[in-house]
Amino acid sequence: MAKNSRLSLASASDENYTFCWRVFCAWDYLIGNPEAAESKGAACVAQSTTSGAVLISLRILANILVLLSLAGSIYIIYFVVDRSQRLEQEKPELTLWEKNEVSVVVSLITMIAPSAFELVSQLEMYHPRTSLRFQLARVLVLYLGNLYSLIIALLDKVNSMSSAIPVSSGNWSDSTTFLATIALPEEDGLSTVAPDAAERQNGTFLLGQEANRTRGATPVFLNQTALYGYNMRTPQDPCWETYVGQEMLKLSIIDMIFTVLSILLIDFIRGLLVRYLSDCWCWDLESKFPEYGEFKIAENVLHLIYNQGMIWMGAFFSPCLPAFNVLKLIGLMYLRSWAVLTCNVPHQQVFRASRSNNFYLAMLLFMLFLCMLPTIFAIVKYRPSQHCGPFSMLIYYLQAIARSLKVTNNQLRMQLQTGRYCGVTAALLCPPTARLQDTEGGDKKPDPEGHVTGVESCVRSGSPRRNSSVSGFESPERQGGGGAGGGVRTITQSAARPGPNRAQPGPTGPNRAFGASRSPSTPSVTQEHREEHTPNRHPGHPGGASGSCRSKSHHRVAYSPSCRHADSVHSDPLFRKSFRPAPREASGLAAAPCRFHTTRYVILNERDAPKQLLRSNARTPRRYHADELVDIVELCPRSVRRFPSPGPAPGPGPAPPPPRQRYQPHLDEEEEEEEEDEEERRRRRWRDAFASAQSHRPRSLSDLHQPPRPLHRADSGPPNPRGPPHWSRDEGPRHQAAPSLTESDSDSVASSSDQQHSSTDQYIQVIHYKDKGPRARGKPAKPEPKAGARLNVSEPNELFCSNV
């Protein structure tokens, strides 16, 4: 544009030499016959005689005519859009004409109006260049008016559609609402329409209610009105954007058709007629009326600008429109270039139209701004349709995503809080089993039975594996808290005495389960016993639990192949029994994610156990996790390196046995009491160790310490499922534990909703409690010596699973 301005400025401005030219250029020297001379003379006279007043009045008249035609075209377009709307409502089937009426009318106006304007401009007697400028301006106003009236009429329809949308229920198609709104929608009516929305697609006259017949028809019509399939049949609802986009596309297509027809008819056919009929016609066709068509540069450029305006208006609603338009313009270009070369003659008046480049570019810019306004208005004012388009559910999706992320975040946080004891490794190692167990045992209520079951299952699962020293020691809490003690008992008992079945100390099944889950390396007797017990114990539990135990033990086996069965399991289960039930039932571990069945077995091998324990401890900050760990630690003192004073450590021999002894099923009260004392001491030691290791443990350790006492007492009872009584007893003495456990329980329950593994992780400590086993001597806990002394476990290794 700048270059054009420069060029136009360089040349002198176009002054208006109207009168001069009228004087000097009016006569056509080519005129050879008198009639022409006379007419020309008359024309000159007419031109010269028109005084200013007449001229002005003529021009005003011409302008009025033009304005009238513009207003008429706008009204016609609005009327036609309205009529098409009414037709859609009234008639079930639309003819081709009715479907495309709007576009045809707009295109017709586009073709005819410029010629009319040219005729009118002859009244004005402007200089040709001036009259050309006027002509261009009028044609441009006409095009803009057409586009605006079309888009405003369409958006009016959309508005009526949108206004009805909120009234209706959420899951309507916009078309139904749209249609309904036209007929003064009523809420009930709309609601009745909704069920039929699905049928709309078929195009059947549905919306089956009689009352909504008219309304119902509209969606059908809407579907049918889309002549060109772009974005047409959205299944449930023709969105209003779709409708507008369809209309714009129809307009573009029909404009193309009309342009092609006009080129062919007005230029080509006319050229043929003039060329071949002039010989046999009354007058010379070539010089008189029809003549050859002129290639009007200005008007063709204007048509391109109009085309562009159409695209800009429709692009938002119909994204493929620009692509289609590119093809259309390419085709039209070739057609027109051919037509110009074959059918057209150059314009007689050389206006140096190229110098009007700036004018055309300015017009284009103006058109761009004006065409963007309705689109922006539509974006701002009208809601996107709910069932289609990229913006329909945008907010909803964002909200849904934010909500889900928040929920996930909370869950993860809770899981972290509750599942810290459930070490990651444990979780990783026993994910499937955890789930299995979860499914099986998932009630969170304190259920000693459940716990027992879990333990039992663990034990059972452990049993099949001979070499593994892993025994499933699920957290009784997971099960509902009941089984902890029982489980402990079971294991302890089973571990402690190869002969005596685990059930002895542990009336609860878990003991037996533990026994069963003792590693195969443990004295087969004990194992057998355990196994025997386990099946008796809780026949119900089994499957999943054992499976899980098994799997866990598998893991454990792999993990610590060198693990031997910890004989100290005896003590552990006992210990566990004592405290476990309480924590278990109280804590939500069992309840929540730490289901009994989701226990994981963490093999705390001699070497690895401490690490594992540490790790697991690290991960499970919960108190009650710590309790379990403490149990584990106490039970498998060797595995816990952190016990600074390896009282039992130096003496692996004596160490293991004492715990074992301690964990032996206390058949007699005395033993139990002794064991309890020892356990207390041990626990204290463990507790200290733990405390040193982790600050958050102490409480749990103390808690852990407490429970065993009652458990032991309980253990002395007959090996019957004494879950409930155990628990009750356990809970009593365990003051410390209870609250903490409860807290932990609640927390775990709360947070471990998603956690499936954390709380149910079981640390399977490979406690080599062989009496002679040097291994067992490794890292005994302080209590070990005592326990070891007590424990006359013949089993070299005892494994116990502790729920973490």
Binding site: C20, V23, F24, I31, G41
Partner: protein
């Protein structure tokens, strides 16, 4: 007979071709037209360059000029003596300038000459009035004529002497979109 013609020598034809916008054929045809205007006066052999001039009355009756209101002025403009007696050279010259291929500047020169009725090299008001009267065949009222002429001078007069010099005229006429198309005679 072939191509051999005896009206003009080759040099003459070449000269005509150089000086005009006509081809050899057109020049020969012009000669034929010139001859038929006054067959007894115009020799067929122009090789010795005879000095034959046809009067104004004969030329303005040519069908191409008959309806033109400015025919007299046209012929007078191209005649050497200013009376409208055209030799063949003037004849050819005239139609050459009025032909389609003549450039705009050349036409403007002669248009100025044609409209300058008093041949003072200025288009004064009287010239314009006469032009307008001839154009409208005296059907305009004097007031209108005066008005138009005044307006024209107003428009085109650049140096403010209330008459149009050749520069003013040329400036105005070259901007006329239809000057070339109107200032055209086909023969």
């Amino acid at each position: 007979m072939g191509n051999k013609q005896t009206i003009f020598t080759d040099e003459q034809l070449d000269a005509y071709q150089d000086c005009t916008f006509f081809t050899r054929k057109e020049i020969l045809r012009l000669h034929g037209r010139y001859h038929e205007l006054a067959p007894h006066l115009v020799p067929m052999d122009y090789t010795n360059d005879p000095d034959v001039k046809l009067p104004l009355a004969l030329i303005v009756n040519m069908p191409e000029l008959k309806e033109n209101p400015f025919r007299s002025r046209i012929v007078e403009s191209f005649s050497e003596d200013g009376e409208g007696n055209l030799s063949f050279n003037d004849f050819v010259d005239m139609f050459s300038v009025l032909s389609e291929t003549a450039p705009r500047e050349l036409k403007a020169i002669y248009a100025f000459k044609i409209y300058d009725f008093n041949t003072d090299n200025f288009l004064c008001k009287e010239d314009l009035e006469k032009t307008l009267n001839k154009l409208t065949r005296e059907e305009l009222t004097p007031e209108e004529v005066v008005l138009v002429c005044e307006k024209s001078i107003e428009e085109a007069d650049l140096d403010g002497d209330s008459k149009l010099s050749f520069a003013d005229f040329e400036n105005m006429i070259t901007r006329a979109p239809d000057f070339i198309s109107t200032f055209h005679i086909r023969i």
